[in-house]
């Protein structure tokens, strides 16, 4: 396979410990991940001139823009590129900035500790909290609830069953058993019956249809392919990228909910595949956002790996399982490895490690040369970032 000439590569990745609860600050995870990813490349913080972060603010100064926090923390050296977007999209845009010469070395950093997505973990209020006039919270919405109503309608329109959703969780757990750093891998394999008999979180979704809700951090470093030749890790080239959003944050369901022409995920995927000059059949390994079992099914349809309504059969046929045509979420994904609040970067990192050939033998995809990562979320499929990656 001959790749088109590309100028930017992933040269360092790092994942901290991922665990249900970590007795340390989110910042300590961020700084460990950043310095760790740079060290893997043979670089230091002094080399970085572009950055994106998942943190929301500078809690020291109160700045609404968290990148000012990092500019200060990294020694008041001028940063030249300020990134944004879901992790795969942030990396894709940073690659274009590097290729254009706006910066040379970019780091994406995430760390989260202490907060939980599950609203049941919050304290019982003693008085009515004031929220926005159109807030989902007026009606007790939860993230699981949003994905449950999406799953319910999806199952209704396309005749998909809970057992078919459950297969996604079964495959994720199978993959996690080969990943010693996954949270659920040491619990062993699960069956469709295990998923079906786990307690209901938000019908039709059971506990094992849902992502984990844990602490952890990660970082990814990019630089030019020219500079990458002198660095320590095997460079993984960025071949194409795409980003798209189309709906505000958990305000409405997208309407129509299942557009035949696709939504934001389709647009981002088409852009990324088009820029990379590759087709779906070329992809050896994938990391696709899987916050719930239904999410992966819709990812596969929206990205064009199978027609609308046919993802359950695609999964059932084993395409996405280790040994299949496109092993997907080989670390165990959000369902069985880690959902650390902004897990989109975890999917990128697993694909990078697969393409380097450095994961544990049980989950290594043989001769993997081309991979794709999807970061997604925001009102079920309201936002997407896609990255196509390759090694020579």
């Amino acid at each position: 396979m001959v790749f088109p000439s590309r100028e930017v590569a992933v040269v360092g990745v790092y994942t901290t410990e991922q665990a249900p609860t970590l007795d340390r600050s989110g910042f300590s995870l961020e700084i460990e991940a950043m310095t760790g990813a740079l060290a893997e490349a043979g670089l230091t913080v002094a080399d970085v001139d572009g950055i994106a972060t998942t943190r929301m603010t500078s809690e020291v100064s109160g700045s609404y823009d968290p990148l000012y926090f990092w500019a200060e923390q990294m020694g008041q050296r001028p940063l030249r590129y300020l990134g944004s977007g879901l992790p795969a999209a942030a990396l894709g845009k940073a690659a274009t900035a590097i290729a254009a010469g706006m910066c040379e070395t970019f780091v994406l950093v995430h760390g989260k500790s202490g907060t939980k997505i599950n609203p049941a973990k919050a304290a019982m209020p003693t008085a009515a909290e004031q929220v926005g006039a159109w807030s989902e919270r007026l009606y007790g919405a939860s993230r699981a609830g949003w994905y449950a109503v999406w799953a319910r309608r999806y199952m209704h329109e396309f005749g998909v069953t809970s057992e078919q959703l459950a297969q996604v969780a079964v495959d994720a757990r199978h993959h996690a058993t080969f990943n010693p750093n996954s949270i659920m891998g040491d619990r062993g394999e699960i069956t469709v019956d295990d998923v079906m008999s786990s307690r209901t979180i938000a019908s039709p979704l059971h506990l094992l249809d849902c992502a984990l809700d844990n602490d952890g951090g990660y970082a990814v470093v990019l630089t030019t392919t020219e500079r990458a030749r002198d660095l320590k890790a095997t460079p993984v080239t960025i071949l194409g990228a795409g980003e798209s959003i189309y709906i505000d944050y958990y305000l409405n369901l997208p309407s129509p909910l299942f557009p035949p022409e696709g939504g934001a995920v389709r647009k981002a995927a088409d852009t990324a595949f088009g820029l990379a000059g590759v087709t779906h059949d070329d992809i050896d390994v994938a990391g696709l956002y899987d916050c719930f079992t239904v999410t992966l099914l819709r990812d596969l349809e929206e990205m064009g790996f199978c027609p609308l309504g046919e993802a359950a059969a695609y999964v059932k046929d084993g395409h996405t399982r280790l040994g299949g045509s496109m092993p997907t979420n080989t670390d165990g994904g959000c369902l069985s490895s880690s959902h650390n609040g902004h897990p989109g970067g975890m999917h990128v990192i697993e694909v990078v490690r697969q393409l380097r050939g450095t994961v544990t033998p049980g989950r290594q995809v043989p001769d993997a040369q081309l991979g794709v990562a999807l970061s997604q979320g925001m009102s079920v499929m309201g936002g997407a970032g896609v990255l196509v990656l390759g090694v020579e």
Binding site: N118, P119, A120, A122, A123, M124, P125, T126, A127, A128, E129, Q130, V131, G132, A133, W134, S135, E136, R137, L138, Y139, G140, A141, S142, A144, G145, A148, V149, W150, R152, R153, H156, R199, T200, I201, A202, S203, P204, L205, L251, N252, L253, S255, P256
Partner: protein, 150 residues
Amino acid sequence: MMAETWIRPVPVVTAESEVFYSGLKERRFLVPRCRSCDAYNWTPYPACRSCQSMDLEWVEVSGRGTIYTFTEIHVGARPFTTDGPYIWAFAQLEEGPRPLIVMGNLIGVGPEEIQIGMPVSIGYHDIPGHDLTMYHFEPTTDATSDGAEG
């Protein structure tokens, strides 16, 4: 279902939402409609999503619709689970042609009886201790409910 003190979230009513919440007090469900292109715009937004006109008017809708999708939330926001699981649903109101799909809690029906497509109506309940009325969905009956259950 009613606690002594209301502990579920309440809306901050501003100039942009005052007409809607005043409507609820009168048992009327008001939706912004664009005077330029006639499109309904739910959730209310600063300008029409179809043509970007800010010339919107609040119009009363029938409050009748059907369940578009729903979930019974077992593990959710704590002020909602005090009495067990609750139904969070989207109802497609009968007005159109662009789908007008509204979120809310469905009450007065057991979870095993709920189906996509079942007829529902918007009902209203006054919030104790607050100068506030909220809406909910309930199964459509011959006598449309206007009660204060909640």
